[in-house]
Symmetry: C2
Amino acid sequence: MTEPSSPYPQLRVNSDRFRADFDELAQIGATPEGGVNRLALSPEDLLARAWFADKIEAAGLTVKDDDAGNLSGVLRSRDPAAKTLMIGSHLDSVPNGGRFDGSTGVLAALECLRVIKENNITLPVHLEAISFTDDEGCWRSLFGSRAVAGLLTEDDIEDRRVDNAPFRAALTRAGIDPRKVFHAERPSSSLAGYLELHIEQGERLARADKDIGVVVGIVGRTTYRFTFYGQAAHSGTTDMYRRRDALRGAALFIVRAHDAVREKYGDGVFNCGGVVVKPGAFNIIPSEADLLVECRHVNARLMSEMEMMIVQIARECAATHGLNFNSEQVAHVPAAHMDERIMAAIEQAARHLNLSTLNLTSYAGHDSQILSRITPCGMLFIPSIDGISHNPREFTHWENVIKGANTLLHAMLSYALAEA
Amino acid sequence: MTEPSSPYPQLRVNSDRFRADFDELAQIGATPEGGVNRLALSPEDLLARAWFADKIEAAGLTVKDDDAGNLSGVLRSRDPAAKTLMIGSHLDSVPNGGRFDGSTGVLAALECLRVIKENNITLPVHLEAISFTDDEGCWRSLFGSRAVAGLLTEDDIEDRRVDNAPFRAALTRAGIDPRKVFHAERPSSSLAGYLELHIEQGERLARADKDIGVVVGIVGRTTYRFTFYGQAAHSGTTDMYRRRDALRGAALFIVRAHDAVREKYGDGVFNCGGVVVKPGAFNIIPSEADLLVECRHVNARLMSEMEMMIVQIARECAATHGLNFNSEQVAHVPAAHMDERIMAAIEQAARHLNLSTLNLTSYAGHDSQILSRITPCGMLFIPSIDGISHNPREFTHWENVIKGANTLLHAMLSYALAEA
């Protein structure tokens, strides 16, 4: 049997220490249902950041926070001119989210750096365990990684299109100067790459009975606000055939759009995540229904086709009920490909650890989707029980977390050494 | 030509004085769109009540407020043992409602009492121009009239089924002791009847080119909270065919219920006035959709059939999408019949004034629906432009308001004198 080589074959993360970190972090913003509420820049998120900074210091690493609130622990190379290999994820959560999403990746990165430091391993790159600001988009989706990639625009901060005052206030409360977030941009030449461990948030690994998912690409994602405008009127006295009921039109859209995406776009994803109805009383016909709409597809051309179809369905449903309609694109992130060399490093690390792998597309957006525009990126997934995510019941067996962390450790070492 | 007799044939309301009141009241809680926001017990509602009390005093009438916050101007009969004929409506509005709903009836009643007092007319009943608390149901639908009719229960005030603390706080802020609201009940034997002028909130008078609607009955009304429970999950990563999307099921219900009521219940009315979606983010599959549902029908048996159909549709839509479902009845007011003698008095008054009439059913709930359980009730409607109501664009030509007020004046006089 020819054992695949690894530069430090016996190296492993410290499972107990990692677990203690994980359990401590899960207490910050813990919800009664067993999940976490750590919306970006909320008091809970700020507590988690302070806790992470303490852990970085305790590990003897250098605390670094940039002008967009990204927070890192750095293990410097002896070569002051070395590039930086970032490894990380995010500490923020969706509302009432799970304990694993983001946290696992950040803490795995920290643990890897601790192990490398303890073993006095010398690398030709600086290592940076990083937590990116607002990955989940409580304020601005993938804000921290967009800042690093130089993709923020004045519209993200100023009041050109929308009132950004609450966002600026939240940044300021977190000690981030809204006028300086652009300074977080890093030159591509300073970076060696970015690696992220994350839960799969799906069931493909479990169904295929594999340990490690090697991400080959990330789907594109577009979000819209769709607003249907009707006429408020007394619900009892208005002729049933002359109503302009904004909610009735919106409901028809939700039903039809779900059906059409399933019928025509096998790899497409559609979600209507929320509706706000005005004025919102038992006895008033709704005058306005404001929908949160999201589309994902891995193929840019089909994605664009699918988006056009969805807007067209909305227009038809509005017309059916005599409503006016407006659509506003809120966010767009194009599909991304992961770096071949990093994918190979992950494969090799998994083989070294006798773990099975599966290549897969990520249907969730991640910071690597953004960072892949400026530096080579790679991601590895670990199995999620029943695929549940963005939910307090999100769960991954600790054994799988450790398998993922050890794969991350060996993949980053071999990739970092190859940089020399 | 045989002119129908009226006890005081030349008597008319003072249009200018009435109009000045109307315009003043419309300023209280005025919205930029030209409507009013005077939610029951809100600061605006309390201002309107204080203004009304001043007007009552200025007219030389007696201010009376009962333990449920109903506010009246009383013109006492010389007979201290006389019964009371109530005339009125409500000063509260729906959110962003119109200027005519409720206000017109309260101010017409006040104006009628002023005219009767000025003309030193002696009647065998006390007259009471009354504004009932929370007709619109911002807190508890038809609260004031239910208190007078002795239909309040401990559930309306105490925390047996729901948390009523905010309602109790609102009552207390308005100077109403929550423990004493039951004291507002009046014995049936003390009452001669109740008369109300109201805008039609529909288009039947205008289409038939009639001046005055003589209400023969009021539809029954039931409201429900329907809740669909699914499972929150990541919108990108969860298999499109294994989602338990609460909003998708709720939307299907809204579409199907609207279609089914129109198809099977020609006289039935259905409204879904609001939806609250949890957790409510672009990238989370909705775990909960909470709907405000309302049914109306003039026939009790068909009403009950229709309600069962709607609940059944909701259960089917929930099952289709793997959701759990719960329905909670929030309010139920049975259909009501108006008093024949009062209807005749309205007819006779309109004939005296050379106004045309149309008998019609009210598809809106009114305090007379409640009060008809303890005393004879009658209502007259005046035309609403385009039937628009519960909307800032609600409008009635002033000429029609005056026709209605004069009909009210003569109807109450002939009914009051017949009481002797």
